[in-house]
Amino acid sequence: MQKLSEEQLENLAQDLDAIRNEQMADLGQKDADYIRGIIRLHRTLEFGGRALMPLGFIPPFFLAGMTSLGIAKILENMEIGHNVMHGQYDWMNDPELNSQTYEWDTICTADSWKRTHNYEHHTYTNVIGKDRDYGYAVLRLEDETPWKPMHLLQMINFINLSVFFQWGVGVHELEFEKLRSGEVTLREKAEFLRDFARKGGRQVFKDYAFYPALTLPVAPVVIAGNFGANLIRNLWASSVIFCGHFTEDAESFTEEECENESRGHWYLRQLTGSSNFTGLNWVYTLSGHLSHQIEHHVFPDIPAYRYREISPQVQAVCEKYGLHYNADSFPRQYATVLKRVTAFSLPDRMRERLFPEFNEGDEQGKVADRTTSTSLVSRLRNRVSSTLSVAA
């Protein structure tokens, strides 16, 4: 990882704290108006979508209803739920927007999410072995984890995770890999499983039993539309989140590096372990402002729509300490995610040759490798790379 001296780390913490304090002191009516406006939009889209769905036997209505409900779920999960549960609006003292009581429209329970995401992921960001969000225990994204033949097929895991993202997030805390290795027992997870079943049952009941039953003659259309809406949300949410930490330049860390770390070191990890994507303002809103993953990780409890305006300040801080501010367009960032998933599915030696950009250490070696090697493997690499850049 990029290194800074203890003194630099301390200054880094001070600089970032100053930005944070300025924002916290400025919280007020405009934040309240913003989030309420988003909530109104969400309710309108949800009720609108559910009202259109029974007319779904007419194709344009089906499309409109499904999209409306899909966007509603995206807004609720990302711009409202995720941000409220981070405590971004706790200062409003509004019981509807309280991090401790908010429950969101997805399979994962708020409590489980707050344990695995707010605590584990945000505290131990990208620390291999401690941040289970780094690869969700089904993807190998760095060479700290030993390669196994099953990793060859991890692109399938990646696609499944994208399509069934809410279920993946829902069972995340089950720690399936630890159950398999015997590190934890099913008995220890009994409480989690009970809550998971209750919340999962609710979500399934709502979208696939209650609303279809309400519109019985056209129930299959409503079921299909609701499935489509959930799929839209799953694909978008997973893509946004993958772009936040799995991009080519996002760093990962070892447990040793982070032992007894200072606040400055924690800040450094957030800056270098996260990545942003750029786009239009409505794309930012639909991503819950996780387009600004770097700002979010540095300041998880500042109302997210402010990330846009503080981004230049954070960039300036990065520049001051010579840190790479990892931002690019959404398609480009997503392409590097695909590249990383592909690269680390390969055995290390093959990866080192095919994807030298993921090799740690000297850049010289990379260049040399690229220019001198003319093997079959090298030509294969070139083909894969160029396909990916065309896709971007």
Binding site: N21, G28, A32
Partner: protein, 390 residues
């Protein structure tokens, strides 16, 4: 608990006619609604899910608090006003001497502040209005803004009425000792007496700073007409700065049959304590004295330095904090086991409700407000007495 008790006691005006009343009789039960609300909207109270839209159509349809339309605002003194409110019909009514909270949003933040109802219940029963009298608390977070911000026609949030029922009983001689804005619940009680044509001998000792500080002057005059046995003594204690006239034994000696009277005290804590002592000295039995502690102002001691008494209310444990340890550590060393995560202010796993008192956020150095709000235990220290829901 107090609130639910009062809901039962409260006069259920209009309940039978409202859609809720109808639903309760013919529709699925309350539990079914709650269950359905959880399934469809992930909320105990499904009605709240619709609030953002309902409110933008008509603010009086909001469900998360009880909306009330401001009908009129009248200045009482230079720093107090009486608001006449018309609550939404589902409000449960009140008894004389009870209080309610005004729920307001100021600069994006919700505040809930207690005030006494200053009219008799008959106002609500007959024309659906109530009055609340607000006195400005110097340096207060809310009252100065409250007095400036609202205009007739605006909508303000209120809670259900709560507090002891002080409806006067017939025949008993009474003595009220009040100071400042402590007159407000007494106005409600006296008006309730007048409505019921009670003829109890009543003495009101009302202490104010100067003649210009009398709250409810017009109402008291009208009450004196309607209550023939009301003896009204308004004492402007500091009218003559050279010769102040604070509550003393001589005021009580002038009250006829003092020891026979039911005494009711309401005012600043200092005055109430003093009155209690004087009444005890004068031989009034303790059980005949009742009071409403109506905290004037913050109601907490504001200290300069960190540190203070921390009360964990759910487990009923009190600890003294020197202010050098964060609340999470204080709670743990008191034997509590609060939920926590990062212990560095990131994850909000240890957030809990502070019911009163001021805490300082050690990351920003900023003090909190003194009201109820959510705080992070791992980065806050107490400043003065603090009560936590732990």
């Amino acid at each position: 608990m107090q609130e639910s008790m009062n809901m039962e006691k409260g006069v259920d005006r209009g309940q039978g006619r409202s859609y809720r009343g109808v639903l309760a009789r013919v529709g699925p039960g309350r539990d079914t609604w709650r269950w359905l609300g959880q399934q469809l909207f992930n909320r105990e109270n499904p009605a709240m899910y619709f609030d953002p839209l309902l409110e933008s159509i008509n603010p009086l349809w909001a469900q998360r608090y009880i909306p009330a339309r401001v009908e009129a605002i009248e200045a009482e003194t230079h720093d107090s006003k009486t608001l006449t409110l018309r609550p939404a019909r589902r409000w449960g009514g009140f008894r004389a001497g009870q209080h309610l909270n005004l729920e307001v949003e100021k600069d994006g933040r919700w505040y809930s502040r207690p005030f006494s109802l200053s009219c008799s219940p008959s106002h609500w029963e007959q024309d659906g209005t109530i009055t609340v009298t607000i006195k400005k608390v110097a340096d207060g977070e809310v009252t100065p803004w409250l007095l400036e911000h609202f205009e007739p026609g605006d909508v303000i949030g209120i809670s259900r009425a709560y507090g002891e029922d002080h409806t006067p009983e017939p025949g008993r001689p009474m003595l009220f000792i009040t100071g400042g804005s402590g007159i407000t619940p007494v106005l409600s009680q006296l008006e309730a007496m007048a409505d019921r044509h009670l003829r109890n001998p009543v003495t009101l000792l009302y202490f104010v700073r100067t003649d210009a500080d009398v709250i409810g002057g017009r109402k008291l005059e009208a009450l004196a007409e309607r209550l023939p046995n009301l003896e009204l003594r308004i004492v402007a204690a500091e009218q003559d700065p050279q010769n102040p006239d604070h509550l003393g034994p001589h005021h009580l000696q002038a009250v006829e049959g003092l020891t026979e009277r039911d005494c009711f005290l309401c005012g600043p804590p200092g005055l109430m304590k003093h009155a209690q002592n004087l009444l005890a000295d004068a031989g009034v039995p303790e059980e005949k004295v009742s009071s409403t502690l109506f905290a004037v102002g913050p109601g907490v001691v504001v200290t300069e330095d960190a540190g203070g008494t921390v009360h964990f209310s759910r487990s009923d444990i009190t600890v003294e904090s020197a202010g050098d340890r964060r609340l999470l550590e204080e709670a743990e060393s008191a034997g509590l086991n609060p939920r926590y995560g990062c212990r560095m202010g990131i994850c909000h796993q240890c957030s809990c409700r502070k019911t009163s008192g001021i805490v300082i956020n050690q990351q920003t150095g900023q003090p909190s407000g003194y009201g109820e709000e959510t705080i992070q235990l791992c980065i806050n220290v107490p400043q003065g007495a603090v009560e936590l829901d732990l």
